[in-house]
């Protein structure tokens, strides 16, 4: 692990510290950074954290919006998986026959994947809402495109990291490119693909919650509404719903990953 020596590391640390200090200089430090009464608001917000509002009405609303959030995330994720498999396999270049066509395929499809994930899902959502209106498909597509990009790139990297020997054995016994993919590459990376997708699923739930910021329903929308009403107790009860949802999925994915890796 320690392949770069101490001297270089000290230089790097000093350099990173200097950059951090430069970034701090970008602010005019002083009391005018706060709103008047900002601290009092902060106190109220954190006091409300300990006493969330769990009346029957809010709980029903919370469960409903949690389901909307989860549904958008799952639908988006299933679409993202299809996109990622398609572009990931094409972008890894394992299907190409010659050297030149391989570089060409890698370049094109990795470029597409890079573009898909360079733009944040909320920006995609804004675009879709601007052109299609407030349809649930706007949320699903806005999730599917950047997540397809991220997953696709990781899938492509995984496929490229598969050791050559088993593939060459398959080739020698007369398998075609497609058969190599189905019986050589995919079984080798299946476990890591599943565990990475599970990890991303958790992120997708969070993203789907903030997706509602542009007006699509869900937990984030409720949080925003309650914040606009300055009802911090309600804000925290929806937050707790979100936390429970994320923790549940996190626990599930950890359990699944442990089983797979054995």
């Amino acid at each position: 692990m320690l392949s770069f020596d101490l001297h270089k590391r000290k230089l790097l640390t000093v350099f990173l510290l200097l950059i951090f200090i430069w970034s701090l200089l970008g602010i005019h430090w002083g009391p005018e950074l706060f709103h008047t009464g900002g601290m009092a608001t902060a106190g109220q917000v954190f006091a409300a954290m300990l006493q969330p509002d769990f009346s029957a009405e809010i709980v029903a609303l919370g469960i409903e919006s949690s389901w909307i959030t989860l549904a958008y995330a799952t639908a988006g994720m299933s679409l993202a998986l299809i996109l990622a498999l398609l572009f990931g396999i094409l972008g890894s270049g394992v299907l190409a026959s010659g050297k030149r066509s391989r570089t060409f395929m890698k370049g094109t499809f990795r470029g597409i994947l890079g573009f898909m994930r360079a733009i944040h899902e909320l920006v995609w959502a804004l675009f879709f809402v601007a052109s299609f209106g407030l349809s649930p498909f706007a949320a699903v597509f806005a999730l599917a495109i950047p997540y397809g990009g991220i997953l696709g790139r990781i899938f492509a990297d995984m496929l490229n990291d598969v050791p050559d020997e088993p593939i060459e054995a398959l080739r020698a016994s007369g398998a075609s490119r497609l058969q190599c993919l189905l019986y050589g590459y995919l079984p080798a990376v299946k476990a890591s693909m599943i565990s990475y997708s599970m990890y991303r699923f958790e992120c997708a739930v969070r993203s789907s919650a903030i997706m509602s910021f542009v007006g699509l329903g869900g937990l984030g929308y409720q949080i925003q509404l309650s914040l606009n009403d300055l009802n911090y107790h309600e804000v925290w009860s929806f937050m707790y719903f979100l936390i429970v949802l994320v923790v549940l999925i996190d626990g599930w994915s950890t359990m699944l990953r442990k089983r797979i890796s054995i």
Binding site: F4, L33, A71, G114
Partner: protein
């Protein structure tokens, strides 16, 4: 022993298939979303107008051809860069302060050979704070922080740091849990204090891994700066939202170009330095 593994996996697969089916049913059946309606003539017209606006067809002032808007955009880009560095700096500082008691092998005393009555309490408290910070998206943190601070890059950086210190803390605590405990136990038995253990025992062996995670999170933060900007936390995102509300479509294109360039630079730098650390 093979059987339970099999059942949990198949169970998960069934749950997944059910979830996917249910969510698509919900999206298409309950919410009455239809693809055909999505591509109706009216919608296509709106979409066409929007994309024409983006490239500047029929606009009076084309932002990406004027010098003033470029200099304005570059100023915002630098601000955004500062915001992202500040955010990762804050979260790194908080992570370093909390990561040692948050590692399981420190809490139960196998690493430092000393067990205090409060170490499990501390472990639990810090882990709960990590879960809190991780589970709440940065946008929601930003909405709350903006109540306290005036709009600018500081609230944005704080919101991003609040979300990311939990993730960084969890990742780095896992690194400490996986680290080789023998040299550190040696230090502890030679009488080193908490700070000395951190500086001479833990840090040297985990720093490369920490650096990889920090850079990876910086890359992600770069991508999310635009989002916290939407609620008024400064940088490119704030201007983006304003231009969107004023229908200044060519400005959106300009800001997007700056944003994508920033993201690509962050991607490239973090990839390079990861290679360097390896």
């Amino acid at each position: 022993m093979r059987k339970p593994k099999f059942t949990f996996l198949t169970f998960s697969v069934y749950v997944f298939l059910f979830l996917i089916a249910a969510s698509w049913y919900f999206v298409v059946g309950v919410e009455k979303a239809s693809l055909i309606e999505l591509f109706s003539r009216e919608n296509l017209q709106y979409a066409g107008k929007f994309f024409k606006g983006l490239v500047g067809v029929g606009e009076e002032k084309i932002a990406f051809l004027s010098k003033d808007s470029w200099s304005e955009a570059i100023k915002l880009t630098v601000e955004t860069l500062q915001m992202s560095i500040m955010a990762i700096g804050f979260s790194t500082v908080v992570m370093f302060l909390t990561v040692l008691p948050a590692a399981r092998n420190v809490a139960d005393g196998t690493l430092t050979l000393s067990k205090k009555w409060y170490s499990f309490l501390l472990f639990g408290l810090i882990r709960i704070s990590y879960i809190f910070s991780r589970a709440i998206p940065e946008l929601v943190w930003a909405m709350i922080v903006i109540f306290i601070f005036k709009p600018g890059i500081l609230p944005g950086a704080i919101a991003l740091a609040l979300h990311n210190f939990g993730i960084l803390g969890k990742l780095c605590a896992e690194v400490i849990e996986d680290t080789d405990s023998r040299p550190i136990r040696n230090l502890a038995s030679a009488g080193a204090g908490r700070m000395q253990i951190l500086l001479y025992g833990v840090l040297p062996s985990v720093l490369p891994q920490f650096l990889t995670y920090i850079l990876y999170r910086w890359e992600v933060i770069m991508r999310t700066t635009i989002v916290v900007g939407f609620v008024g936390a400064g940088g490119l995102g704030q201007q983006f939202k304003l231009s969107m509300s004023f229908f200044h479509y060519t400005e959106i294109t300009l800001l997007l170009v700056c944003y994508i360039v920033l993201v690509l630079i962050a991607d490239f730098l973090s990839e390079r330095s990861r290679y360097f650390v390896k």
